[in-house]
């Protein structure tokens, strides 16, 4: 077993443990317990922070997309989303097209 295999195995186990702990905790309290609302708020905030960072300050391969192209992709998605009253797939495709188009212009 290589280091990468061992790291994968251990990450799988910690991920399953986090999910199991969450299911056990969430199943042990009343559905209207503040813990449930707090956990939902933290999950949504994490997702929102993930999106904000991916657009404004990405790392890795995403960082190779220039900021104007990332913003163009987000704007094209948002405009299509508003124009179609919340249709996600067309907005997603338009966002990726907007990003590609902006990259062609900005290089």
């Amino acid at each position: 077993m290589t280091g990468a295999d061992l790291a994968l195995l251990l990450t799988v186990l910690t991920g399953l443990a986090l999910r199991a702990l969450g299911l056990a905790l969430g199943g042990a309290v009343r559905p209207d317990h503040p813990l449930i609302a707090w956990a939902a708020a933290v999950s949504v905030a994490t997702l929102a922070a993930f999106v904000a960072l991916a657009v404004a300050a990405p790392t890795g391969l995403l960082a190779t997309i220039p900021l104007p192209a990332r913003l163009a992709g987000l704007a094209a998605g948002a405009i299509t989303f508003a124009a179609t009253r919340g249709a996600i797939l067309p907005a997603l495709l338009a966002g990726l097209a907007g990003l590609g188009f902006a990259r062609l212009i900005t290089g």
Binding site: G3, A4, A7, L8, L10, T11, V12, T14, G15, L16, L18, R19, A20, L21, G22, L23, A24, L25, G26, G27, P31, P34, L35, I36, A37, W38, A39, A40, A41, V42, S43, V44, A45, T46, L47, A48, A49, F50, V51, A52, L53, A54, V55, A57, T59, G60, L61, L62, T64, I65, G77, A78, F81, G86, I88, L89, L92, L96, L99, R103
Partner: protein, 224 residues
């Protein structure tokens, strides 16, 4: 097979599968680029099943001779959202033992879909709906990973970067669609405002900190 399972599987194979497919395709290609095997890529998607942690793991563990413990700790921190997500989802999955079947599939995409759809379904249909959605999106993710690994030599970095962008774009749209749900608007604002805190901490720990701080503040303000 009960209808909720099929309805959910069909739902999953639209925008969710497209967004996940694009991201996991990029992940499969990145694994091939790093010199790791197809089974490693597919196993990683099928069992870690959380893109933030997978990318951190790949980045830290793929270099030969890399230390295992820091890679595992950082990947776990990057996927720490599994814990609050599972807590929030648990009441919707009911109290029977069968809810544990959902365990390996608790990840952003099925979670976000479940939080929107399950409250409107009868209790009896909720677990079946979740499993239908989860199995369809999980299968799509695995297929896309394998395809990405095979296609790696034909995917230039600019294309892979664009595919990776599908993921944040999809979540931005999901959040926009959910702004009307109770508690969501405050938590979105909290998360965005706390995001700069993540920059000095690095991607794995920073996301965890931003989510905890932004979400807790939003929660506290909403309860006042």
């Amino acid at each position: 097979m009960p209808p909720p399972f099929l309805t959910a599987a069909r739902d999953a194979l639209g925008a969710p599968a497209f967004a996940m497919g694009a991201t996991f395709l990029a992940f499969g290609a990145a694994v091939a680029e790093a010199g790791l095997s197809l089974p490693w890529a597919v196993l990683c998607t099928a069992t870690v099943y959380g893109m933030a942690g997978q990318l951190v793991l790949l980045g830290l563990a793929a270099t030969p001779g890399a230390a295992v413990a820091p890679a595992v700790i950082a990947a776990t921190a990057a996927n720490a959202r599994f814990l609050p997500m599972a807590v929030a989802l648990a009441p919707l999955l009911g109290r029977s033992r069968a809810r544990w079947l959902a365990l390996p599939f608790i990840a952003i995409t099925p979670w976000a879909a479940a939080m929107r759809r399950l409250p409107a379904l009868p209790d009896a249909d909720r677990r079946t709906w979740f499993l239908g959605f989860a199995l369809a999106s999980w299968s799509a993710a695995i297929l896309a990973t394998a395809l990405g690994h095979a296609l790696a030599p034909h995917l230039p970095p600019a294309v892979r970067a664009a595919l990776l962008f599908a993921n944040p774009l999809y979540f931005a749209l999901l959040l926009a669609a959910d702004l009307g749900r109770p508690g969501v608007r405050g938590a979105v604002i909290g998360g965005v405002l706390a995001a700069p805190l993540a920059i000095p901490l690095g991607s794995a720990w920073g996301l965890l900190a931003a989510g905890l701080i932004g979400g807790t503040l939003a929660f506290a303000l909403q309860r006042r």
